[in-house]
Symmetry: C2
Subunit: 342 residues, 2 copies
C-alpha cells in the first residue's frame, strides 16, 4: 500500500444506504463532475439494476466502471453476513482494495457489516487493537472529531489511547490542525474523575506525547475547546443518537407551535431560515462519512439515510484520506507515540 | 420511619447552592406560603448569617425553625468532607432525620457530599446495593425519569435492575403512571445489542415482573415511549450534561445570528417567546430536584445553580415524596419484585 498509482480509484458500494442504488449512482455522478481526473469511481453492485437506472435516469456514468456484485447486504442483516459470501457488494469492494484495483472503499450501507468486512479483509494497522468509528461534530469554535461512536463497546484504556492517536492524525492531516488538542470524555474535569477505564486512560494520555487537554464533560462536546474527543463506543453512540433525537424534538415542537395559531405560524415562518442555518451544521450530509479508523486501508462509512450530496461528499472524503495518506500517517504515529508503559 | 407524626418536617440545607443562603431562605419562604400547614421547614446553616439575611430582607420566617450548623461544605470540597465533621449543614440535616426531628432533607449543595452523607448516615434500603440519582426529562409525550445520572459508575446488571424498580415506584406514586414502562438505555433496540452490562441487565429485566419495554437508544430519550430509563451513571451524566451544552450552543448561535443584522434581530425577536417556551421544558428549576433513590430516608438533591423557585419546588417535592411514602413503597417493591435469579 506504500506506493499508489497516479490516480486514486474509489470503490463505491452502490447498494448501500436507504435510498440506494439511485442516490449512490447520482452521488457518484456528482463526485465525478468534481474530480477533474484526480480520482475514478468503481460502482459496485447488481450490474443489471445499476444499468437500468443509469439508462432510465440518463446518467452519464462510464459503464466500464461498473463492477458486478450479485448479492446485497440489507440494513437489518447481522454484521457477519457480509463475511459469509464473496458475491455481496461489500465483499467485492474489499476484494478490489486487496487486489490493488481500488484505493478506498465507500459505503452508506449496514455499518456493522462494513466494519466487519473491512476489519477482517483489510486487517488492522499494527499497534491498533480495535478500529473506531468517528464523527465530526460542529462546535462553537472549530470542528471536533468524536471517536468512537459505535464500533466498540467495553473499550480498554489502551483502546482510548489509540483512538486519540488516530484522531490526532486525522485532524492534523485533513483539517490542518497543528498539534490537535485531545479531550477524554468523562464525568468531571479532574483527572481522578470518571469510571475505571477513563481514569486509567487519563493516566495513559497524560504520559503520552499527544497534546492531551484533559477530561471533558458532556457539556463541553459542542464548546470546541478540543479538536478530538475520545470515548467508549457505547457512550459515543448514545450521545450521537441523543443529539439526533434532540433535533427531532425541537423541530417537532416548532411545528406544533406553528399549528397552534396564525401568529405563531407567521413568527416561526420568519425565523425559519435562521433556525435552519443554525441546525444545518448538524446535518451529516454536509460532511459525508468518516473513515473507519485503524483498518489497514481506507473505508469511509456514511449514514444509512445518505442523500446524493452525502454520497458525493463521502467520495471526496475518501479521496482526501487517500491523498493525505492517513493510513500511513497513523502507522507512523502509533509507532512514534508508542508508550513505554504498554 | 414507619409512623410519621401528623406534620411533615423538612430540613433544608440553607448553605447549599451557588446562590445560598439568600435564595434558599427565599425558596423556603415561598414554600411555606404554599404549605397550608401541611409541612414545616427547618432552616439549617450558620445561624448568624441566616438571621442577618432574614432581617435585612424582611423575610417573615419563623426564627425558632433555624437550626445552627457552624460549618459549610463548599461546592469544590471532596464528597467525604461532610463525613468528617458533625457541625456542617449537611451532617446536621442528616442528624435531624436520624433523630426523627425531620422527615426529609433537601439540598442544592455539593452533590457528592449530599450523596455521601445520605448514604452513610441514613443507610441504604435493604435490597438496594447502590443509591441512584434520577432526573426528570421532558419528552414529546409524558415526563420520563432517567436514572442514574451520576451517582454510580461501573454499575452492575443488578444495579440497573434495582434502578428500574425504584424508578417504577416513583413514576407510579408521584406521577400516577400505572405500570410504568421501563427502557434500558443501550445502542441498539435488539435485546442482544449493547455492552456486557446492558446485555445482562436486559435479561434480568426481561425476567422481572416490571413492565419492561426493552432497549431504548439515545434518540429515544426525548420520544416519551417509556416512563423510566435506566442507565449507568457515567452514560446518564454525559447525556444530561450534553443536553445542557446543546441548549447553550443553540442560545449562543441565536444571539450571534441576531447580532449579524437588524432583520435577523427582528425575526429572532418575534420568535423568541416561542423558542423560550420550547426550551423552558428543559429548565430544571421548574421541577426542582429529585430524590436520591435507594437511601433509607428522603433526600432531595437539586442543581447547584438552583433559584428560589427551584428551592421551593424541591421542598414541595420532598413533601410529596414523604406523603407518598416513596421509601416504604420502594422497600415493598424490592421485596415483592425480588428476583429468584439474584
Amino acid at each position: 500500500m506504500d506506493s499508489y498509482p497516479q490516480q486514486c480509484v474509489i470503490a463505491l458500494d452502490a447498494m448501500g444506504g436507504d435510498y440506494a442504488p439511485l442516490v449512490t449512482i447520482r452521488g457518484a455522478y456528482l463526485a465525478l463532475q468534481e474530480s477533474n481526473g484526480k480520482f475514478d469511481i468503481l460502482l459496485v453492485g447488481k450490474q443489471e439494476e445499476l444499468l437500468k437506472i443509469i439508462e432510465k435516469e440518463k446518467i452519464d456514468f462510464p459503464l466500464q466502471n461498473i463492477v458486478n456484485a450479485s448479492e446485497t447486504i440489507e440494513m437489518g442483516d447481522a454484521p457477519t453476513t457480509a463475511l459469509k459470501s464473496k458475491e455481496n457488494s461489500l465483499a467485492v469492494c474489499a476484494e478490489l482494495i486487496k487486489q490493488g484495483k481500488a484505493h478506498a472503499f465507500v459505503s452508506a450501507g449496514n455499518t456493522g457489516a462494513v466494519m466487519a468486512i473491512s476489519t477482517i479483509r483489510l486487517g488492522r494497522i499494527e499497534g491498533i487493537s480495535r478500529p473506531a468509528l468517528g464523527t465530526i461534530v460542529p462546535t462553537l469554535k472549530n470542528k471536533c472529531l468524536v471517536l468512537d461512536v459505535g464500533a466498540n463497546v467495553d473499550t480498554k484504556p489502551n483502546n482510548l489511547y489509540e483512538f486519540a492517536v488516530m484522531g490526532s492524525v486525522y485532524m492534523q492531516e485533513i483539517f490542518g490542525v497543528k498539534s490537535p488538542k485531545v479531550g477524554l470524555l468523562s464525568i468531571g474535569e479532574e483527572d481522578s474523575k470518571g469510571n475505571e477505564v477513563t481514569i486509567a486512560a487519563n493516566k495513559l494520555l497524560r504520559e503520552s506525547k499527544l497534546n492531551f487537554y484533559g477530561n471533558v464533560e458532556g457539556r463541553d462536546v459542542l464548546k470546541g475547546e478540543v479538536d478530538v474527543i475520545v470515548c467508549d463506543g457505547f457512550v459515543g453512540n448514545v450521545v450521537l443518537k441523543f443529539a439526533e433525537g434532540f433535533l427531532h424534538f425541537l423541530v417537532k415542537r416548532f411545528k406544533e407551535s406553528a399549528e397552534k395559531s396564525f401568529t405563531n405560524k407567521l413568527r416561526i415562518g420568519l425565523a425559519k431560515g435562521i433556525l435552519k442555518d443554525i441546525l444545518k451544521v448538524f446535518d451529516y450530509q454536509e460532511y459525508g462519512g468518516v473513515p473507519l479508523f485503524g483498518v489497514n486501508g481506507i473505508t469511509i462509512i456514511g449514514h444509512g439515510s445518505s442523500s446524493e450530496l452525502a454520497i458525493k461528499n463521502m467520495i471526496i472524503r475518501a479521496y482526501e484520506t487517500h491523498q493525505h495518506r492517513i493510513v500511513e500517517r497513523i502507522k507512523d504515529a502509533i509507532q512514534s507515540f508508542h508508550l513505554s508503559t504498554t
